[in-house]
Every structure is written in C-alpha cells, then in structure tokens.
Symmetry: C2
Subunit: 267 residues, 2 copies
C-alpha cells in the first residue's frame, strides 16, 4: 500500500493522469478516469476499485471516502493527495470534484459476454456522442440489461463524458466492442432476437413478439442503421412518429424500446 | 429584398451574428441562430423563415436552398453571401454547414399556449443540459405533444446546441418559460393532469390512469424534482429500476413516459 503527496503541476504522475483525458493515451495505458465520490462509490459497490485514488487536500471528510481510501490501500492501490488546482488540471475542470480514480479498462471482447445472464442487451452502431453512449449504459442498468455492445466506430465508453453520463452504469454493465462482421456470427451462434426500430417491413413496437435474449439495436445519430443491419434483424418494429421528424434521439429510441421489451418479457 | 456580400471578418454584421452564440446577446436581440439546410428546411416547412440567411460562397447548389433563398427574399428578409471561414466564425465551427439563418425568438409566455391543442405536454424543471432540452423537444414532436414548458432556471432552448439536438422540433413545438409559482395557477386554471415519475406514493407507470391534457414533468439532471413539485402532481408513477441506479436520464424518463401516455390516450 502506498500513499503520497503531489505538489507540482509538472509532476510526471500528474501528466500521466491528465493524459487519460485523451483516447489514445487511455488505450495505450489501458486505464480510464472516473470523477466524484458518488461514481467511485458506485464502482466500489459494484466490485471495482481504482488502482489510483486522487484526493484534493482540504476536502470535507466523508465516511464513504474514508471507506474507499481504506479499500484502495488494502487492495494494494495507491492514494495520492494533491491540491484542488492540480486535481482540476487532471480532470480538466475548473471546479473539480474532491476525488477521482484511475481504473483499469475492462475486457471488451464479445467472448467475455454471457448472453444467458440477462433478457435484454443493448447494441449501438457507430454511436458518436459519448453522452448518448453513457445514457444507454444508464438505461441498460435501469432495465436490468446485461450490457452494451458497441458496433463499428463508436465513441469511447471510457471517456470522461460517457463515464459521467452513465451515472455509474459503466461499472455494472458489460461493454463489448465489435465490428459487424464479428458480431453477427457471434450473435447467431446462440439464442437471440435482434430487434431494431425500422420504417420498413415492421410491426408496431407495442405488443410485438419480443423474445429473450433480446438484443435492441440503435444506429448512428445522423444516418441511422445501415440497410444491411436492419435486414439482418429478427424483428423490426415501428414507433409512432406523430410530428415532422421520422426518428428519435438514439438513446431515447433505445430506452423506449427497452422499457417495452422489459414489460413484454415479464420485467 | 436585399442581398449582399460580406468579405471581412471584422464586419459589424458578422460580429452581431457571432454574438448570437451567447445567451445574453440572444436575449438582447431577441434572435437566435439555426445552422444547416436540413434544419432551415424544417423551419421553412413549419412556417418559419429566417430574417437573415447566411450562405457560404462555393457551396454546392441545392433546390431546397434555392427555394429557401427565394422565400427569404420575397418575405423581405436579407441574404448574405460570405466565405466558409467567416461562416465558421459566426457558428463557431471549424467545419460549418454551408448555410445558417437568424430567426426571431418565439413568444415564450404561458398565455400563448393553447392546452386544448394537444393531449400531451412536456414540462422540464431546471433542466441544465441543452442537449437534453433539445432531445425533449424532438421527443415532443414525435409523440405529437403541444410543446415544452420550461420551469425555473433551465438551459436556453434557443442555444445552438438545443436547436441542433431538437432536430427542427424547436420550430414545431410551442415553448414556454415560467416560474413554478406562475405555472401552477395557470395549470390549474383549466383541464390538466400533472404527472411525474416519483418514488413515493406512486402507481406503476404501465396502465396508470392517464388523462388528457397530460403534462409530463421531469426534474433537474442532478437533483430531480423538488418535493413540493412532486406533491403537486395529479398522478405520480414509478418506472422499473432493476439495477443500481434509482433514476434515468431526464430526457429518457420523459420519453418513456410520453410514449406510455401516447398509447394510453389512444395515440
């Protein structure tokens, strides 16, 4: 167990932590940042402790923070105390929370998913907005989904914005990254129903014949799903669109479908 | 009808347009910016023409853009041609779309709302994220809502981010801004059912006794709704929360409820 104090902005540890705000450095290090006591407590209660815990000097004492600190130290992690200014430099915020943690990225291979573990799985294709991505993780947690499968070129689920928008669900939902041509054979190698909202050859989403494990797929924010992906679905559903628009926000569409499926499958 | 060319970055019109990216200047001018041919075409088809249309030189010709230009000119508006660089300076984007428009802000008084016009109305309290706000407008359009009522200190619905996230619904949904102590007497002066998701004294959201006009209220992203606001609801509903979290993203919660209400009211 180690504990140390950092006082200099140019300290190499500060630089390394700060670099985790950029995707290429996250991937190189295999680590990501999560900020705030609530998020870190969610992580701890989900069985994830940070490798490094960074705390601001002069913070208010809090029993959950003390518990977190003790757990990190007894697990062999490192605790760093530093100024609020340096913590702000690490997280890139003018008003940083009093604590942040560095976590090892999780296994994001399809092979690590156990589809029998949940009735609902969310799938996103080329989702570019990290806020949408985090929101889908949060929705997945709420409906008891097993996890989120990210197809093709999605935003990074370990970015600060996605982690924040997930409200801790990044620690409870499995996350897999895959290309379509890896995903489809994996999907079809076991029980599944692949479902998407579609305008063609579709049935109303209310009362549709959903079946577990149900994989609910949403497409890119601008372009929606490629035709080929829609065609590969086991079930295509339509949602009422009463106005001018022909689509919903991707995270919203996924959530409305997920709550419908949850009810249909006896949620 | 006027048409002119602007070549200088320091042109006062460029400065005035650029200033519309800031809320205080939008409020002072009573105007806002919308960017991109798709959004401007949605606006036009909803009966809203920009007072000023700014187009990049060297843009690709497009019949919808030509139609827009003709309509703006014949309505007495102004058309400005400028470089892509200056357009980027106005919109604050490195890769601006080829066109943007300046619109007069709409009447946002409660008095302007006609509640008999729609079965569903969305209400947001202290919603801080312009993306969430725009997403709620978009959802409102999709479920055939009448509009969005913004209580207390919300993000500005006329910010570039909210306008963009609304996908044109800022032009189809009525928008009202009100304090709670103005809203409640207005609400109770006519038919209404005020509904919110709540953990206390609530019935399951599926099959709840929804009634039109149904006002679906969501709270602030961090704090949710104040107790007093929940207590004032005519109907409190619970949504399943199967995971660690006890809440959904505000725009997601509003959408799941809105689709449920749409179905219940014979959508």
């Amino acid at each position: 167990m180690t504990r140390r104090q950092i006082t200099g902005f140019s300290n190499p540890t500060v630089k390394a932590l700060r670099a985790l705000r950029e995707k290429k450095h996250r991937k190189a290090a295999g680590k990501f940042l999560a900020e705030g006591l609530r998020l870190l407590t969610d992580a701890r209660e989900s069985g994830h402790l940070p490798e490094v815990l960074v705390m601001a000097e002069g913070r208010d004492p809090h029993p959950l923070l003390a518990a977190l600190e003790a757990d990190v130290l007894s697990a062999g992690g490192e605790v760093i105390e530093t100024s609020a200014e340096i913590l702000g430099k690490i997280t890139g915020k003018d008003n940083p929370q009093a604590v942040c943690g560095v976590f090892a990225e999780f296994d994001t291979s399809l092979a690590a998913l156990d589809r029998s573990r949940a009735k609902i799985w969310l799938v996103a294709q080329a989702l570019r907005d990290p806020g949408n991505l985090g929101t889908m993780l949060r929705t997945g947690d709420a409906v008891g989904a097993g996890g989120l499968i990210l197809l093709d070129d999605c935003a990074d689920p370990f970015s600060a914005e996605a982690v924040r928008a997930s409200m801790g669900a990044v620690f409870t939902q499995a996350i897999a990254l895959a290309r379509w041509d890896e995903f489809l054979p994996w999907l079809r190698s076991g029980d599944r129903q692949l479902v998407a909202a579609s305008l063609r050859d579709a049935v109303p989403y209310r009362g549709a014949p959903y079946a577990a494990p149900c994989f609910i797929m949403v497409g890119n924010e601008s372009r929606g799903l490629p035709e080929e992906y829609e065609a590969a679905c086991d079930l295509r559903v339509t949602m009422p669109m009463k106005g001018r628009a022909d689509s919903l926000n991707a995270a919203v569409a996924g959530a409305v479908l997920a709550y419908e499926v949850l009810d249909a499958l006896g949620g």
